[in-house]
């Protein structure tokens, strides 16, 4: 049994494939999407706990994707993970409700802790 469900959204398959593998080994159920639209389509049909979202993607960028994810699946926690160190974009993401904004490269275990924290936050959320 996996701990919880994660969706990786990134257009770089070289990054996504090995990361999915490593997270699965750490007992998470991992799916991936290679664009913002694909992520939204996935979320509208399948339940998910935490999304890991790249900021710089062609077509729909990460910030726009985040905005729409919060519309279609407000309970999902989103962690931005990017090679893009930009204070402005980072804070915009945080204001839109991202759980955290991490910069590549990230240690796998640090990412795992963030995922666990985000999931825990989701499950503690008071019913309103």
């Amino acid at each position: 049994m996996s701990e919880f469900k994660v969706l990786l959204v990134d257009d770089e398959t070289d990054f996504v494939v090995p990361l999915s593998k490593r997270l699965r080994k750490r007992n998470l159920e991992v799916n991936s999407a290679s664009s913002g639209q694909e992520a939204l389509d996935y979320l509208s049909q399948s339940p998910c706990d935490v999304v890991v979202l790249d900021v710089k993607m062609p077509d729909m960028n990460g910030i726009e994707t985040l905005r729409r994810i919060k519309e279609v699946a407000p309970l999902v926690e989103v962690i931005m993970l990017t090679g893009h160190a930009n204070v402005e974009v980072a804070i915009e993401g945080m204001e839109l409700g991202a759980f955290d904004y991490l910069m590549k490269p990230v240690e796998i275990d640090d990412l795992l802790y963030k995922l666990q924290d985000a999931y825990k936050k989701k499950s503690y959320r008071p019913i309103s």
Partner: protein, 873 residues
């Protein structure tokens, strides 16, 4: 029940006679868990933010090199974590601290504008012919091509004809492909910063540029300029393409040999060669150079000069002065057969002419070397390397008359620029001299000491391994030999070694950032590598033949570049004269940006939680916000017990043998079993960090206050009467006793013994990277000098036990992080011990003998009793 306990109880239950409307204990439990999780996340973010601030502070010391990506990444991560802190505090007590967002926004906007690099946009033609180029448009064409324009149009010396693809052209190219954002992303995402990773990064970025397309207007402009050149210089004229980066060749940065020059290019290769030169902005030497000198990427717009190719019979480099000695005004010429490339590359030993600076330009020294090869143009395109045979090898590559004529030009150029020049020249097929480029010469101020010890080194009693060659960069260095023959050796270059190579190739430059000295078998002191070694202050001897044979890897030697000798082992007397290595970061553009943003992040202004200024609106820096939020979050967690009549989560008194009162608030899973009523047994505590502190507290019984001399006691009395804040009755209940807030992995302890106040906060668990301990210690009853000395005293002890310590006035701050659970527990035991045994030591802090005595007792206790606890269990 004593008065304090009653007072405390009142605080907890004050005004809350009606229980909360939460329908069940389960709901309340869930609400509490939610709050506690937010609190924990806040603490993690707080800890992370403080760690990042420490990174920034360390970088401000200027002893390490860093790029813009370091500054951006640290600022971004700090801003994100501080934002999270505010958000988690807002979840802890919704709506109460929203003003923080305003302060954050203000500071965040300032940080953004400090990071937003003042990028000047260039708005001129994409391409300019050389006859339109002069000093005034240096920012459009780069220093190298501006100089060529000046030499041709103002000074009137011969240069090739041609044109420049301007900074506007470069920006057009970069913008067309949105290259800059992608380049930053790749630099940021780089995994490590070993030379191997830099290699990969360098080749990735260059491929990115080579794969990009030129916008059609730029391509058209370049091809049109070439057609115009053909009209005046002949159909199909070959050209050279040279970098002329902005900022290159300014007086204190050389950029020597980092960028590509492509020689003998035919018309169909012009566009690709343009990209190739632009791509060399990300050559390995260029990346490491900018990194070491703190130069932002944006500052280096790559202009490219395109000039008719001189099919040189001979060429070389000359210096209008001696670069190693400001007092020597003779002119130095290095020359070779064929293109000057062989001198610049350091691939062969060039002829050397030293010429007196006045008419009739007398030749002071002439040293004709054995020239193994020459570079010549292929008929179609490109350059070939040709072995030299027969007499030509030993024949002088230029005549004495040509040497004098060159010297005359050098004097004219120096006179025009008003400072010594480094000049590349060629002699065409028809025997006429052409100036290819000219830039300020890096001259070294030699301290007197060098002159002195030049004479004294004969007295040194040591084995001379080799001597000879030429001083390419002065100084003395010591370290193990490392011979680099190829790029694989380069990857393995161990820092702080003596770099030994056959040739003085520019591609060895990236190792100079970490080499202690440089020795080459061939190469002249006018080459690129010599330039870079002088710039980085790396002692260098060039042309020391046989060095790669004589020396072996790992052999420890002292390189005396001034005395041109290598000694076996470490020669202290020579090393004493060694000037400290140049600090190239301080004052660089990136360093200035860091200073600006760090000013908005690092300083802490909100010191006193009891002051009226301890207020969200008064937060001037991100550190202020973290400080404020941390203080409030602890208060908020604590007050949960007040707001909800919830016995499960009310504070309990600890039942123990230590004759002090200890109160415990269980945040989550800090008890083994739920506790009804007012008391909890130590056996029921399940908090890892609390138990470790407790072990330290109880390890050695306290012997009571130290015997105080009369002065110490008077100082206590004076202070107590003069300072009402020291009256314990005025302090809030929270600080008036020893208070633990715990969960299994977390513990926050505020403890107050009379006037002595300390807080310990720790997160200890299996996530080693998140583990931390923070400890503050302040106050005391004695006067300020004694309290300061005690803070110093405690700080020294903690430093010994591997805490990072900072002392401000009578405050000691200590922290440790990222260690595994067992090490963290040891640290907490030390803290627990110190909390008990250092109180009231301030009173004896004027007497050196007693300080020594107490220090010894404390070390003995900790080593023999406190730290033994861990091994016993």
């Amino acid at each position: 029940m004593n008065i304090l306990t009653r007072f405390f109880k009142q605080i907890i239950h004050r005004g809350h006679n009606k229980p909360e409307d939460l329908s069940s204990v389960g709901e309340l439990r869930k609400a509490f868990a939610h709050r506690y999780h937010n609190f924990k996340l806040l603490l993690t973010a707080n800890n992370k933010a403080l760690e990042l601030m420490t990174n920034l502070e360390n970088a401000l010391e200027g002893s390490q090199s860093f790029g813009m990506s370091f500054v951006r990444a640290n600022c971004t991560a700090t801003a994100v974590n501080v934002f999270r802190i505010i958000k988690h505090l807002d979840e802890l007590s919704p709506g109460k601290y929203t003003e923080l967002y305003k302060s954050f926004k203000r500071i965040h906007a300032d940080i953004n504008s400090a990071l937003e690099y003042r990028k000047t946009f260039h708005r001129s033609k994409l391409v300019l012919p050389i006859f339109e180029v002069n000093q005034d448009i240096l920012d459009e064409v780069g220093a190298k091509m501006a100089n060529v324009g000046v030499i041709k149009n103002t000074i009137g010396l011969p240069t090739p004809d041609g044109f420049v693809v301007t900074a506007s052209g470069y920006e057009r190219f970069v913008a067309h492909n949105d290259l800059q954002a992608e380049i930053y992303r790749r630099i940021q995402s780089m995994d490590k910063e070993g030379i191997e990773d830099l290699y990969r990064l360098s080749s990735d970025l260059q491929n990115l540029i080579l794969g990009a397309t030129l916008p059609s207007d730029l391509e058209d402009a370049i091809l049109k300029a070439y057609q115009t050149l053909e009209a005046s210089c002949g159909q199909g004229v070959r050209v050279s393409m040279r970098s002329s980066a902005l900022g290159e060749d300014s007086s204190d940065t050389t950029f020597a040999g980092q960028f590509r020059s492509i020689l003998n290019v035919s018309s169909e290769s012009i566009i690709y060669s343009y990209k190739d030169v632009v791509a060399s902005k990300y050559s390995l030497p260029a990346i490491t150079y900018r990194f070491n000198r703190g130069i932002p990427d944006e500052d280096v717009a790559m202009c490219v000069g395109c000039m008719t190719m001189v099919n040189a019979q001979a060429g070389g480099v000359m210096y209008s002065c001696n670069p190693l000695n400001v007092r020597d005004r003779s002119i130095l010429i290095n020359s070779v057969w064929g293109l000057p490339k062989a001198v610049v590359d350091g691939s062969i030993d060039p002829d050397l002419f030293v010429i007196s600076r006045n008419e009739p330009f007398e030749i002071i020294q002439k040293s004709i070397k054995e020239k193994r090869l020459e570079f010549v143009c292929f008929p179609e395109e490109g350059v070939c390397r040709r072995e030299l045979t027969g007499k030509r090898r030993q024949t002088e590559s230029i005549s004495e008359n040509q040497a004098r004529e060159l010297a005359r030009m050098a004097v004219i150029l120096e006179a025009y620029y008003g400072r010594p020049q480094d000049i590349e020249w060629a002699i065409g097929a028809d025997g006429s001299i052409v100036i290819l480029q000219c830039r300020p010469l890096q001259q070294l101020e030699l301290p007197e000491i060098h002159e002195n010890h030049k004479n004294s080194h004969r007295d040194i009693c040591a084995t001379v391994l080799a001597s000879g060659g030429e001083t390419a960069s002065p100084g003395v260095g010591f370290g193990p030999v490392y011979i680099v023959r190829n790029d694989v050796d380069k990857l393995k270059f161990p820092p702080k070694s003596v770099l030994v190579t056959m040739q003085a190739l520019p591609r060895w430059a990236p190792m100079l950032g970490s080499a202690v000295a440089l020795i080459t078998e061939t190469g002249g002191i006018t080459g690129h590598l010599a330039n870079v070694s002088r710039e980085f202050g790396v002692p260098a001897i060039f042309g020391l033949s046989g060095a790669t044979e004589t020396l072996t890897n790992g052999l420890e030697i002292t390189v005396d570049a001034d005395g041109r000798s290598l000694y076996l082992g470490k020669i202290e007397s020579l090393l004493e004269t060694k000037p400290s290595r140049k600090n190239l970061m301080v004052g660089s553009p990136i360093f200035e940006i860091l200073k600006k943003v760090a000013d908005l992040i690092v300083p802490l202004n909100l010191l006193d939680p009891d002051s009226a200024d301890f207020h969200p609106g008064k937060c001037m820096t991100l550190h202020d916000i973290t400080r404020f939020c941390h203080e409030k979050s602890v208060d908020e967690m604590f007050s949960f017990g007040k707001e909800h009549r919830f016995s499960e989560r009310a504070s309990k008194q600890l039942v123990c043998d230590v004759p002090m009162q200890w109160w415990i608030l269980n945040l989550d899973d800090g008890f083994k079993q739920d506790v009804e009523g007012k008391f909890v047994q130590i056996d029921n505590i399940d908090s890892i960090p609390m138990l470790a502190i407790w072990e330290g507290i109880t390890a050695v019984p306290w012997e009571g206050p130290p015997p105080v001399d009369a002065k110490g006691f008077m100082s206590v009395l004076m202070e107590a009467t003069a300072n009402p804040a020291l009256d314990p009755a005025i302090r809030s209940a929270y600080s008036a006793r020893n208070y633990f807030m715990i969960s299994r992995n977390f513990c926050s302890l505020s403890s107050r013994f009379g006037f002595h106040f300390s807080t310990t906060e720790a997160l200890v668990g299996l996530r080693s990277s998140e583990n931390y301990v923070r400890f503050t210690f302040k106050g005391g009853a004695a006067d300020l000098p004694r309290r300061r000395r005690r803070a110093q005293f405690v700080g020294e002890i903690l430093e010994y036990f591997d805490f990072s310590v900072e002392i401000k006035e009578d405050n000691a701050f200590a922290r440790a992080e990222g260690c595994n659970q067992e090490i963290m527990k040891e640290k907490l035991r030390v803290l627990g011990y110190l909390m008990i045994h250092t109180r009231q030591l301030d009173m004896v802090m004027s007497n050196d003998a007693s300080i020594t005595k107490y220090r010894q007792k404390i070390f003995d206790d900790i080593n023999l009793k406190v730290l033994r606890l861990g091994t016993k269990q």
